[in-house]
């Protein structure tokens, strides 16, 4: 019998806020975190639209000079989210410093640190002028290597790179580590840098919205007038814990990660979304969770506000779930949080269950003509989410789907 896996703590750094409560308030208000970044205009970006994290100071999370030397943007976001998640779970560092607790985070770039380090080298003509910090900032595992070191993690310790499904795959893999009995707890999540260096090459794909006259209306997943995604980022962390372990220590439980599905499209195109692969991952996750599609109360869609991708996902949802279950893409407010999106959207979905609402898919007016009918939730509304799905899809055709069950959420969580 597999172990069940509870969510017992969460932390988030996003353009919607730096605390669970402020993020929940933003979701309930349908508030967008998208702005125009003038620096991107000067830097030659096709689109200067971006999510913006307000007033993030890593020193507020206790990070000091020595740690910041080895921690670039994604590691700092990840650290803040992890520290908050540990506290939210009612854990101390001592509680997680044992071989039964690990960390698996999604991350798929370190462009900012790589470019900055290279600039130091070129400016001074010798590699030693790069300094000692950039190697630790500039490895893809920067988030987990720094967090494991500074938090004293003794169990699993690695980064998972799966494009824009990284965060969801990190949760899925953590689920398997706990189910199998290899770990009792895993800090699972994702981080996403937002600097120009990390987003310039994505901007070059002409994938970003250029709706500059109304930045907060630029990200409009599923809407027939959508013209591209808006890049964003931050950090998200969930404490996943063997249910019996959580109960034994009297933890306040948000819910259960009940199912994980994954697939690869297997089609010869790096960036073209595809309905069948997404549908296979959804079907696998529901089977894994032993959940009938008719039991779902909500789907947090991957939909990024790109016509091809949104249509492909709508096709998968229609095929596997039908047209009744409410669907929203929180990317309409956050923009596309890329490597961390699967983790942050698991946090957003859990907050909806905690605070009994369905977040709106803001800016949605009308489905595209060639989209199958699905039930897009346009307005915030009260809801009792017991079972939800969160979809994440990435370049290279990697797909990850999570099923979460909140039916036994500890009532203390409701008033957090």
């Amino acid at each position: 019998m597999n172990n069940q896996v509870a969510i017992t703590g969460m932390g988030i750094v996003s353009c919607l806020g730096l605390t669970l409560d402020s993020v929940s308030a933003s979701l309930q208000a349908g508030r967008s975190g998208i702005v125009i970044d003038d620096g991107r205009i000067e830097a030659g970006f096709r689109s200067p639209l971006t999510g913006k994290i307000e007033e993030f100071d890593p020193k507020s999370w206790g990070l000091k000079r020595k740690q910041l030397k080895t921690m670039g943007e994604p590691a700092q976001y990840g650290y803040a989210a992890a520290v908050d998640a540990i506290a939210d779970a009612g854990l101390t560092l001592e509680d997680i410093q044992n071989p039964r607790c690990g960390i698996v985070m999604g991350n798929d770039s370190v462009a900012g640190a790589t470019v900055e380090g290279h600039k130091e080298w070129q400016k001074n003509g010798e590699t030693r002028f790069i300094g000692s910090g950039y190697i630790f900032q500039g490895m893809n595992s920067t988030v987990t290597m720094n967090l494991a070191t500074y938090l004293g993690i003794q169990g699993a310790n690695w980064t998972l790179a799966g494009a824009c499904a990284s965060g969801a795959h990190a949760i899925g893999q953590s689920l398997m580590l706990i189910r199998s009995g290899l770990q009792d707890m895993v800090l699972a999540g994702g981080a996403q840098e937002m600097n120009q260096e990390s987003m310039g090459s994505f901007d070059a794909l002409t994938a970003f919205s250029t709706r500059l006259d109304s930045p907060q209306e630029a990200s409009r997943p599923f809407d027939r007038e959508c013209d591209g995604l808006v890049p964003s980022g931050g950090g998200a962390c969930l404490i996943l814990e063997n249910l019996e372990h959580a109960r034994a220590r009297g933890a306040n439980i948000y819910g259960i990660v009940k199912g994980y599905g994954f697939s690869s499209n297997g089609t010869p195109h790096l960036s073209k979304p595809e309905t069948d692969g997404a549908a296979r991952a959804m079907s696998m996750a529901l089977d894994d969770a032993k959940t009938d599609p008719s039991d779902l109360d909500y789907i947090n869609a991957h939909a990024t506000s790109t016509p091809l991708g949104d249509a492909a996902e709508a096709g998968a949802i229609a095929k596997i779930v039908g047209s009744d279950v409410p669907v929203s893409s929180t990317k309409s407010m956050t923009g596309h949080e890329c490597w961390m999106a699967g983790a942050s959207e698991a946090v957003y979905t859990t907050l909806m269950a905690r605070d009994r609402f369905l977040a709106p898919n803001i800016n949605f007016l009308k489905l595209g003509d060639d989209y199958p009918t699905i039930n897009i939730n346009r307005e915030v509304r009260e809801a009792d989410i017991k079972t939800a799905v969160s979809n994440s899809f990435g370049f290279g055709g990697t797909n990850a789907v999570l099923v979460m069950d909140f039916s036994d959420m500890n009532e203390k969580r409701r008033h957090a």
Binding site: K64, R65, K69, T70, R128, F129, S132
Partner: protein
């Protein structure tokens, strides 16, 4: 450069670059125990001193530096 300015410049590197309190900076302070520098800090300290004083500190010399006085002496003897 006067010895006083050399010491002031070195202290500045420690204060600005390594967030070390000025009060604990003195010739007898050990770089590892008293000032809390590890081997990675040592690499960055050498680069910072070289930039500050436009000098070169050979790796073997840097490895032999134990206390702040070693740095005062090397910089004082090599700065223009």
């Amino acid at each position: 450069m006067t010895q006083e300015n050399v010491i002031k410049g070195i202290h500045n590197v420690f204060i600005e670059g390594f967030e070390i309190e000025e009060e604990i900076l003195n010739g007898a302070a050990t770089l590892d125990q008293d000032l809390g520098l590890d081997s990675l800090d040592g690499l960055d300290l050498v680069v910072a001193l070289e930039k500050e004083f436009d000098i070169r500190i050979p790796e073997e010399t840097a490895r032999e530096m134990r206390v702040l006085q070693d740095i005062y002496d090397y910089v004082d003897n090599n700065v223009q």
